[in-house]
Symmetry: C2
Amino acid sequence: MAEASDTKERILDTAERLFAERGLGQTSLRQITSQAEVNLAAVNYHFGSKQGLIKAVLGRRLEPLNRERIRRLDRLERAGELTLEGLIEAFIGPPLELSRDGGGGSRFVRLMGRTYTEHASFLHDHMRQANEGLVSRFKPAFRQVLPDLPKGELYWRLHFMVGVMSYVMAGNDMMQVLAASRSANPDEPREIIRRVVPFLVGGLRAPLPPELQEEASEAGTTEVAAGSG
Amino acid sequence: MAEASDTKERILDTAERLFAERGLGQTSLRQITSQAEVNLAAVNYHFGSKQGLIKAVLGRRLEPLNRERIRRLDRLERAGELTLEGLIEAFIGPPLELSRDGGGGSRFVRLMGRTYTEHASFLHDHMRQANEGLVSRFKPAFRQVLPDLPKGELYWRLHFMVGVMSYVMAGNDMMQVLAASRSANPDEPREIIRRVVPFLVGGLRAPLPPELQEEASEAGTTEVAAGSG
DNA sequence: GTCTATAAGTCGATAGAC
DNA sequence: GTCTATCGACTTATAGAC
């Protein structure tokens, strides 16, 4: 597990690293194969095309990652301990913890963060499909721990939550602009989780602005009935 | 102002649009000049290089945009009405409102959102420098309206705020995955501001987790003295 | 499965005519 | 200030020897 020995995994590991560092479009197959010390033609032999390689790089870690998130949600529910804090940690904890893995995990997490903003259409479809099961599992759970939030408003706020998560995952260092002297290392995942969970709890639990209060009374009626039927 | 007539502005307008749609690296000068209906060599004549063009596209709107944000902050302070809500709106309102501009404004905002995750080193330096005055003006204002937040914690939370902002600005449509039936149009900037401000207020005002409470007592002593002296 | 060689196309940048 | 033509380097992908 420490070193990839055969050609296929050497390509995957190197591609993962370079894609995360430079982006998908800026990374050529030549850069990948020369750094992986394999032949250029091996990529097309093993993955068919560059698109095939990209999908393989993403799928290799995304599937177990989402399984782990769902596993944590299952555990919360079975223990009867479904709280907003726990739910957020189940959702953003696994990807952030993966970045502690000194190996490819941290690269993959950065790549995932970038993927949300990189707009290749095939990639968009691929990520949507890959996250479908995850979303359909977590959405009702968030509804349950935030019962007073109108459905429409909940989606907005989950949207904002994903924004924070993907930004943090992409490893953006706007932090260095904000803070001349930093007390904490923003690359330490436990540190990030500790800081970001209260922020997200506060945001998700924020009171509705006055002009949106009316919608709150509809929350339990219109759309909920359709969604759970 | 409605239509750019001369070559230089046609290039800027077209480049702005294509950069926002496809990213900087994925957009070639040939695509820009053919859609702008100008000669390929005009880019190098007017801007020297592709990098020069990118900087020109960003600078054209970023400077007036940041002036407007600072102007709004000035007005809040002079009126003695500096609240957290107002401060957030002064910071994120102008870029989001710019997307209402049917013309290039909306493209530029998307480009800005993407710029935070696109890691060309020259771009990174350029954006940092372009935002320096903005940050140094807003940072103490946030300190003032959040006096109980330890300095280190404040930077984390501003970091998260920028994450939400850039994600929304980039026009990511993860929303469409989350919500099968949408009640609101996520592209309408007033709508976004109305939803995101309470979320950010809640996040920025969130209570500290127990293990971080100790740092709170130091907030008014150590670093503040150095910062305001 | 791994290699060489190459096809067929794109890229940014520039020289030089007008 | 605008054009054509082109350089040299790069790209993905593939055909075919071993």
